[in-house]
């Protein structure tokens, strides 16, 4: 097990290295000059050149890359081109809302989707199954921002039960925090619920036809126990996998959801940074998101052995 973890950790290095090289090259290939944008309205060519120099953009691409990599290895992601702040502190400011939104969305999605999927599989072919499956196809088809606007209209404007926008940190009180997260999390979880419910149903259907389920039933165990203790446990591997894969989807959804609900999280930071051509920030945010994705999928692999005793590394 330990050697497996070590091997998997080693395998993430080339992946992250590729991401770093790719993002770096992509930004350097763009036709726009961030120095000209920073220099502003009245700058002349000399001023732009001076800014290029101060940002280190006048150096050859290769040495720019090695300087940047060297900094990263020391845990330094550089300073934002625009705000006189380090990228690390910019990210630290923004990570709270995004983390909260992602966590609440995950909890909400799993607690809704797994029972729905189990139910649909248990009642395969009935109207319950059809409704769940129908909802899940719908969930894939309606864009996140449309769902967001519908929810805002219904619950924040039509009846003012919930705030229309913004984010309050946990330090402002649990109630305030969760009130501001309900609508965004519901918006973001629609597609996630659709994904997990589908996978749960499919995986359960397969397991329910297996011998040991029949055996358990024959032994007179309650349906509840059969479903959740025997079947779900054995169906868990694909479900957990899809939750892991879905992290990328969650990150993508966060960008849109934060924009709809004016939440100053990492998603909005990314869009702002891209529009402003703030290279250090774009690089750091994309690296961070990719790292999260890789680590979560590593964790997913590890949980396999916990969920399914047959898998050993």
């Amino acid at each position: 097990m330990a050697s497996f973890i070590f091997k998997r950790l080693l395998a993430t290095i080339p992946v992250m290295l590729f991401v770093a090289v790719f993002v770096f090259l992509m930004l350097r290939m763009t036709p726009y000059d961030p120095a000209a944008i920073i220099a502003g309205d009245n700058a002349n060519a000399d001023q732009v050149a001076a800014i290029r120099k101060s940002l280190g953009l006048d150096q050859p691409i290769l040495s720019q890359f090695f300087i940047w990599m060297g900094q990263i290895l020391q845990g330094n992601f550089g300073e934002s081109f625009f705000f006189k702040k380090t990228v690390t502190s910019l990210i630290a400011d923004r990570i709270g809302p995004t983390l909260s939104l992602a966590t609440v969305t995950m909890l909400l999605s799993i607690s809704v989707a797994v029972p729905l999927g189990v139910l649909a599989a248990y009642r395969q072919g009935t109207w319950i199954d059809r409704v769940v499956m129908g909802f899940s196809v719908m969930g894939f088809s309606v864009p996140v921002f449309v769902i967001g606007y519908i929810l805002i209209y219904l619950f924040a404007i039509n009846v003012s039960w919930l705030p229309v926008q913004g984010y309050r940190p946990l330090s402002a009180g649990f109630g305030e925090w969760i009130r501001h997260l309900i609508l965004p999390a519901c918006t973001l979880s629609v597609i996630y619920i659709a994904l997990i419910a589908r996978m749960t149903r499919a995986s359960m259907l397969e397991v329910l036809s297996e011998d040991y389920v029949r055996t358990a039933r024959a032994k007179g165990q309650t349906e509840w126990k059969v479903l959740f203790r025997h079947a779900l446990r054995n169906a868990a591997v694909p479900i957990v996998t899809v939750i892991g894969i879905g992290i990328a989807l969650l990150i993508g959804g966060v960008v849109v959801t934060e924009s709809v609900y004016s939440i100053a999280g990492l998603g909005r930071l990314t869009v702002d940074a891209v529009l402003a051509r703030d290279y250090p920030t774009i690089q750091a945010v994309i690296l961070l998101f990719s790292f999260v994705y890789v680590v979560i999928n590593l964790l997913v692999d590890l949980t396999y052995s916990l969920l399914d005793p047959r898998i050993r590394y």
Binding site: F18, V137, V144, L195, M199, I251, G253, R277
Partner: protein
């Protein structure tokens, strides 16, 4: 939002060892009779016809502006004098936007961009992914290199990658298509590679290798046919997600130039006033959701009939 979110793709990643049967003669009939394929295909066909015949569906130029007729509700009528001196009544079936453009015409023309983006992205990512996947699956020494690159590309969340690509280069239809295609490729590569790996182990393929069948023939005759069914299914889901991603990029204001009628652009234009005039979000939203829904249902149906092994998993 991206293809990876579609259940079939997820399943493809999970079930790397699955084997796909050769398409049998009766397959086509099964496909035709599947209700999901029928429904999805019909809706999609209608959308395609709308796109092709947009100029004949009572539309006007989708880019013609009329500052005096801005933000009008659906059903608004306006009388203008044409260049020939005749009076003419213009009806705004779906209302007008903040430049007085006809939302109905824009929505109808918007079908063109969505369908072009969906089909082009699906075709490109499947073709490129197939090519890379075959190479990776067949040439063992190249495999680790290609797969590390694909892992890396897959680790960057698709939407972020598309946002970065589109907004850093000059926005336009081409840039949008490239930006949506690139993140889809690794997922196709993985699918193709898993098919190749499993087919290679088949006794009849091993036999073919022993008798000295040249590699191109081997790929052409034995491996390629096995990839067709899962790729058609996969391509359908990519098409659905591409249409959605295009709308999201336009909505965030970094996609195809706003003058071009696309469903995402119409909604982006209307988002600021949706409390007062909801028609700019409503109508294109319905068209968009209906189209994506149809493509997804079509994909489900195709998977059930073409690729039963995979269908069993999901």
């Amino acid at each position: 939002m991206s293809a990876q979110t579609n259940p079939s793709t997820a399943a493809a990643t999970v079930v790397a060892d699955q084997r796909i049967e050769n398409a049998k003669p009766s397959t086509w009939r099964r496909v035709r009779r599947n209700p999901s394929v029928l429904f999805g295909g019909t809706v999609l066909l209608i959308m395609a016809l709308i796109a092709i015949f947009a100029p004949f569906l009572g539309t006007r130029s989708p880019t013609d502006i009329a500052p005096v007729a801005r933000n009008k509700v659906p059903g608004f009528e306006r009388t203008v004098t044409g260049p020939d001196g005749k009076e003419q009544t213009l009806v705004y079936r779906f209302g007008s936007d903040s430049l007085g453009r006809d939302v109905y015409s824009r929505t109808i023309y918007g079908a063109r961009v969505s369908i072009i983006v969906g089909i082009t992205v699906a075709f490109l990512s499947v073709t490129i992914g197939l090519f890379i996947g075959l190479i990776s699956g067949y040439f063992r020494w190249l495999d680790p290199i290609i797969m590390r690159i694909m892992d890396g590309l897959m680790a960057i969340p698709a939407i972020l990658l598309a946002i970065a690509l589109v907004s850093l280069f000059r926005a336009g239809l081409g840039a949008v298509i490239v930006a949506i295609t690139l993140p889809e490729i690794p997922r196709v590569v993985r699918l193709v590679r898993s098919v190749v790996l499993s087919v290679r182990e088949e006794p009849y393929v091993e036999a073919a290798v022993t008798v000295g069948t040249p590699t191109p023939t081997l790929i052409w005759r034995h491996i390629l046919p096995n990839t067709i069914a899962p790729l058609i299914v996969q391509g359908t889901f990519i098409c659905a997600s591409a249409i959605l991603v295009e709308a999201i990029l336009s909505f965030l204001g970094i996609g195809i130039p706003p003058e071009t009628p696309t469903w995402g652009n119409i909604m982006a234009e209307g988002r600021n006033v949706f409390r007062l005039y909801s028609h700019s979000i409503l109508y294109p939203g319905i068209f968009l959701a209906l189209t994506v829904l149809a493509v997804n249902i079509l994909g489900d149906g195709l998977r059930d009939t073409l690729d039963p092994k995979m269908a069993k998993r999901v």
